[in-house]
Assembly symmetry: C2
Homo-oligomer: 461 residues x 2
């Protein structure tokens, strides 16, 4: 084993939470080393060049109420601009019919529409009472956490179309099937954003704005500021704690000594680190219960945003699939057109078993059904299936199954010895969003700053 | 990294599945090395001396239909004998009243009893149609897997007492809360044993018989037969596959080359091994979704089985807790008395936060409420909280939450390259029992034997 370089704080994971935490600690003069498993910083935000355009293969949108990420963008000199939303959205029915619509109310037929509206209203009302700091203490928590969102839909939504639409909404919002999700967690997530429309909407919601050059630019700038304080290709495999500090050991056997450790990786990956002493039962039990959602994001670039001239916004929902939703992600200048599409839940996993060519054909076929034949002939095309990323293993975030919040849920944010937990999943506000990651990074840094005592200077020998 | 010793098959995990697999392979002349993380073989079967008696801190019962474990016991020269069941069982109500009863029908009041009987009948009937080989293809699988057992109880059980009793039954049978469990998985489990009474009963059920000297004796004998083919204290951290074989790397960096690998550890722990190439999305996604049940088992020994003279069987169910159920586990000779108690589900985790003395006092208090003051004064006392065991992390077995079987469920048993999966969780018969582990070990060995080609002799130099 290599010698033990020493640092105040080791941060495990250079996603937004880890980077923000490290950035904040450094500004206070606290020594930080960030260890990142991948060959790039950013975590669930990641950029690529597709057809000469810088695009986001991961998280990309921001919206009102996400104050910390707007502040961070301003601090780092990254401008924001509104997502393009002019024109009609499109809903594709299961049989492939296209129904244009404006705003967030697709044309579903009056009884279905009423059914969906009533369900949305009910979910918002139920969410109002959720305590996002301690969801397990919310009124009626046991009953809400004893059932899946599926069970709630089966009981509360009466039209076939309404059920299909709410299933699609669940897949779009949480990247999982309604059967996988605790009703309590769905409500917690709604409350953590403020309302259901805050989750689903472009204007006024979490998809309102974009970041110039891509959201991944935030991570790139934060990483650049860390210089040698960020080590890539350094998967952490083991964290040992003793009376005097912690030892963080990477894949290649390098051992880093630190006074405190911040683990800022998705819950399933936090459970794959070996801890000595072993994690307490509550924490370990919880992590066994927190799977990631499943999502594939694809990006197609075109010489121009041709759908705009046809009066379309580029936003679509499809009950037919495999792409569940799309959006216009063209650069602000409009010098070329970019469409993004999401394949969510079980369908995202199914697509991993196909050849790249077969998958691409399927995805482009889906886009051309929504926006016409030109959508099937992009200049360039890229996809990222987050279920296959070994150091993320899903997105957008962990989804709580029934019984997790009201069972071992209180272990989610509680530090264990010298180890703090960060990441969007630890945030009571904007859980699952970049904003949640930023808030968790700041909160964790502040907790460390409050208790930090500078090390005494080394004795002169 | 150390040099690469080479072997036909490396088995990861010396629980019953791994040991049986290795035993069977060796008999066919196939070279096997078993790597075990703990300092003992046995996995979820483990023995201890408590008050001079050899007792089981883990799995211990066998029953009709568990043909392979009876055959194994016979082969290894381990006798079986009936669990002591003469006399009255006891049900403790929530308010601490004791109600003796015979057989499996506690005195619950007529409407509650009818409610419970009806629920049992319905569960058995629903289970009949489950396809245990491919549960996701069972009739109505999506609907059954879209809800928790809790939702089913809420809908189908109408008395307060009935709901409480079924919650207790769930905790006793699956070591989890009804909120955590998919209805489909509960039905699969029932079908995999044959019926609900096969799961719950002593006589005629899975608790009918015991093994002389303890169930852990099976593992000890199998392990002894492996000689140097079993390595203890060797946690596997990484498995790499290439064109010519697999490399299995333990904590200390030793790398073992093998033609094939059998991973026979609980699902959450299989997910904590690093794989290269990374696991396919389906497999990884599934493992993120399979937590272990939570259980503490305690064992108290007495100079004699004093409850028998009071006309009690030693079996009890308690709605008050923390011990949910007990049984007489005295040696066949009756030379001393042994009671075992189980604390299941959330309560098992809660107990980990207490001091050992505080926990012991609580558990002995529970026993003395059930069997009188002498039960509170054992000669010796031991406990094992399986949620804290770093290389098991729960028991009896993994519990499928909603959406797992019908989502990525088909990845459970499918091998990945040179890696086979064993363990009771991979067994369509007697899932979660020692029998399931034995069957999975045999099945995996047979699959390897079918395709095994002896290596050519090394060239003479």
């Amino acid at each position: 084993m290599s010698p033990h370089p020493e640092v105040d704080v080791v941060v495990v994971g250079a996603g937004m939470a880890g980077l923000v935490c490290a950035h904040r600690l450094r500004r206070r003069g606290i020594g930080v080393l960030v260890l990142e498993a991948c060959d790039r910083p950013g975590g669930r935000t990641v950029g690529a060049e597709v057809g000469g355009e810088s695009v986001d293969l991961g998280g990309q949108f921001v919206g009102p109420g996400q104050d910390r990420v707007y502040a961070l963008a301003a601090e780092l000199g990254v401008a924001t601009f509104p997502t393009y939303t002019a024109g009609s959205n499109v809903l594709e029915t299961e049989t492939g019919r296209l129904r244009p619509f404006r705003g967030m109310a697709p044309r579903l037929g009056p009884s279905t529409l009423l059914d969906v509206a009533r369900a949305r209203f009910r979910l918002d009302r139920l969410a109002r009472d959720i305590d996002t700091e301690t969801p397990w203490r919310s009124p009626d928590a046991a009953a809400l956490d004893g059932q899946t969102l599926q069970s709630w839909i089966d009981r509360r939504v009466h039209t076939r179309g309404g059920r299909r639409f709410l299933t699609l909404a669940c897949q779009a919002i949480w990247a999982c099937e309604p059967s996988e999700l605790s009703l309590l967690h769905a409500l917690f997530s709604i409350k953590s954003a403020g309302s259901l429309s805050a989750l689903t909407d472009f204007e006024g919601g979490a998809q309102q704005d974009r970041l110039a050059g891509g959201a991944h630019g935030l991570a790139a700038r934060l990483a650049a500021g860390l210089d040698a304080g960020l080590l890539l290709n350094a998967p952490v495999r083991r964290i040992e704690q003793d009376d005097r500090g912690a030892t963080v050991i990477t894949e290649d056997g390098t051992a880093w000594r630190a006074g405190q450790v911040v683990v800022a990786v998705p819950p399933p990956l936090a459970s794959r680190i070996a801890y000595q002493p072993p994690m307490p039962a509550g924490r370990d039990t919880l992590l066994q219960r927190l799977p990631m959602g499943s999502v594939l994001k694809c990006i197609a670039t075109y010489p121009e945003p041709f759908w705009r001239t046809a009066g379309l916004s580029g936003a679509a929902l499809s009950l037919r699939g495999p792409i569940a939703l799309t959006a216009d992600s063209s650069p602000q200048s409009g010098r070329c057109g970019v469409l993004i599409g999401f394949v969510n839940g079980a369908t995202a996993r199914d697509l991993t078993t196909r050849s790249e060519a077969g998958r691409r054909a399927l995805l482009l076929d889906a886009l051309s059904r929504l926006f016409g034949p030109p959508a099937g002939r992009p200049v360039a095309f890229a996809e990222r299936n987050w279920t296959e990323e070994p150091f993320t293993r899903g997105a957008y975030a962990a989804v709580f199954p029934p019984g997790a919040w009201t069972g071992p849920g209180s272990a989610l944010r509680a530090g264990v010895g010298r180890i703090h937990w960060a990441g969007t999943e630890t945030s009571p506000r904007w859980y699952g969003y970049i904003e949640g990651a930023v808030q968790s990074g700041e909160r964790t840094a502040d907790a460390i700053i409050r208790t930090h005592r500078p090390r005494p200077p080394a004795p002169v020998r």
